[in-house]
């Protein structure tokens, strides 16, 4: 069963991250690397991606003439996807356990960040969406 584990953050969270001390940044980067490595070694890893900064995000709608209309303005409360892991596991409980580990990535002040990780199951096709 494929699950996506999503790390989200408001713009203020990203700005906060950018101000972490060198040691905290390095500890977090090291954790993420080790975490992905562990997922690979335990055979559950499908993929992981980091996304660009919220300041670079664009919102697109189709304009009247079909040309895309680009907008880079988001509300302050908007939660941006920072990155995700996709894992293939036997049960939802296994997915939550792994998400909990991700959540304990070291944060500012060398404490566990306890970031909320949103866990969703990935469908195999749009037909499953029940739309």
């Amino acid at each position: 069963m494929k699950y996506i584990l999503m790390m989200m953050g408001k713009k203020s969270d990203f700005d906060g991250y950018a101000k972490w001390s060198k040691e905290d940044l390095q500890a977090n980067v090291a954790f993420m690397r080790a975490f992905s490595k562990e997922l690979k070694e335990t055979g559950v890893f499908v993929s992981t991606e980091g996304l660009g900064w919220p300041s670079e995000a664009k919102l697109i709608r189709a304009g009247k003439d079909g040309e895309p209309v680009t907008d880079g303005v988001f509300p302050e409360s908007k939660e941006f996807l920072a990155g995700y892991w996709i894992i293939d596991v036997e049960s939802p409980e296994q997915a939550y356990k792994i998400a909990a580990r991700a959540s304990r990535a070291p944060g500012a002040g060398a404490k566990a960040a306890n970031m909320p990780i949103e866990v969703r199951r990935v469908l195999s096709s749009h037909a499953d969406l029940g739309l």
Partner: protein
């Protein structure tokens, strides 16, 4: 050089033979596109069978035979589809002699393929993928792995690239010496792009990707063999070697990015540097001062410096000024500003960066803020440096670069 993900003893042999086989089969059957598919299939068959059966006595002949069989099978089914006359069908029934095909081989075939695959009608991305497959002999899977896209996507790109060649009517023949002069820059540009792609992606090992930098060097060596004494080809090879020489020093133990001024120079590959310098000297002695030779000369100044402090920045500045006349671009201006900053002080560097804010090709690019931050740091304006490091970090999509920039900012913030 790093092991390729697909590292097999005869891989090197196989890939060296690929363009020769393709040239022969394409020439014989007068169908580059189908021949390219057939050779790809023959390569895959070799990867599957040779580990079990051993490398054949005549590996090239083996590949030609398998590829030819695919071609005749393909043609037969095409003919059957089109319900042609049996007289024509009978011709394809004749056993295609490997000896005949090999006799038809032209030592220029690899060069023909290189020019074809780098034809200006193709987008850089198409030319890169087609060159890697047809001239490099990489499998679709290897190329897909190198670019981190699904295999089916890469197969489709190559298919479309060949379609472009077909519709553009690019002939399977060597460009005339006159045409060659005009077409060579496109070839060198593609090879350079393959190298850049490989070099930037070789940071850190955590993504086992095909070593394109190594492949680019190999292909450029081939090009040099095919076009001996061409100063731009020699210059390009020199540039690649002088750049690749620093590869081991670019990444720290935690896979962090280490900039040039902080690298452990004992990790630089001295033999690559020596070869690069030798080639560069040969290229420059021809009297021409092209784009790649200039870039190689700049790399040589860095590589020959014992330490950062010993770097002849005045020489580098002079070379960038020359490069700015030969091939101006915002990136050249940026690098010129860096060099000027080292020679005349950071204030001068900042001054030279200002026009770039008005250049849409680079305004808003992370490097502009990264370089600014560096100058502000040198001037002791830590607040401005921190601000620009953080702006640059938000603008870059390179994780190692982002981590580096944020770390620089935090370092300075910590000094407050």
């Amino acid at each position: 050089m790093a092991d390729q993900p697909h590292d097999v003893p005869f891989e090197h042999l196989l890939r060296g033979l690929a363009p020769q086989v393709l040239g022969a089969v394409a020439r014989r059957f007068r169908d580059f596109s189908s021949a390219e598919d057939a050779v790809q299939e023959a390569m895959i068959a070799a990867f599957r069978q040779w580990p079990k059966e051993g490398v054949p006595e005549n590996p090239r002949g083996w590949l030609i035979q398998v590829a030819s069989r695919r071609m005749t099978d393909h043609m037969r089914s095409e003919l059957a589809r089109r319900e042609r006359e049996t007289a024509v069908a009978a011709e394809t029934e004749t056993l295609t002699s490997i000896l005949e095909i090999e006799a038809d081989m032209d030592p220029d075939d690899t060069l023909i393929l290189l020019f074809m695959c780098c034809h200006p009608a193709l987008s850089p991305s198409s030319a890169i993928t087609l060159t890697l497959r047809a001239v490099g002999g990489l499998t679709t899977a290897e190329i897909a792995n190198a670019f981190l896209v699904p295999e089916a996507t890469m197969a489709q790109r190559i298919s479309r690239a060949k379609q472009t060649i077909k519709t553009s009517g690019v002939p399977f023949r060597l460009p005339s010496p006159h045409e060659r002069t005009g077409r060579l820059p496109a070839v060198l540009h593609v090879l350079y792009l393959i190298f850049s792609e490989g070099y930037t992606s070789s940071i850190g090992s955590h993504l086992q990707r095909f070593d394109l930098a190594c492949e680019a060097i190999r292909l450029t060596r081939s090009a040099k063999t095919l076009l001996p004494d061409n100063p731009e080809v020699v210059g390009l090879l020199a540039l690649m070697l002088l750049t690749d020489a620093r590869r081991a020093a670019r990444t720290g133990p935690d896979e962090e990015l280490i900039p040039l001024d902080k690298q452990d120079r004992t990790l630089w590959d001295r033999s690559e540097i020596a070869e690069g310098i030798e080639l560069l000297t040969a290229a420059l002695s021809k009297g021409s001062v092209g784009l790649y030779q200039l870039q190689a000369a700049i790399a040589a100044v860095h590589d020959e410096a014992e330490s950062v402090e010993d770097t002849d920045w005045a020489q580098i500045l002079a070379l960038y000024e020359l490069l700015n006349r030969v091939a101006p671009s915002p990136m050249v201006t940026l690098n010129l500003a860096i060099a000027a900053g080292m020679v005349h002080g950071p204030a001068k560097g900042l001054e030279l960066l200002r026009p770039l804010d008005r250049d849409p090709r680079i305004a808003g690019h992370y490097r502009l803020d990264a370089v600014r931050a560096h100058f502000f740091e040198k001037m002791g304006d830590h607040e401005a440096a921190i601000q620009h490091y953080r702006i640059a970090a938000a603008r870059t999509t390179s994780m190692p670069e982002r981590n580096y920039l944020l770390t620089r900012a935090s370092d300075l913030a910590g000094l407050a």
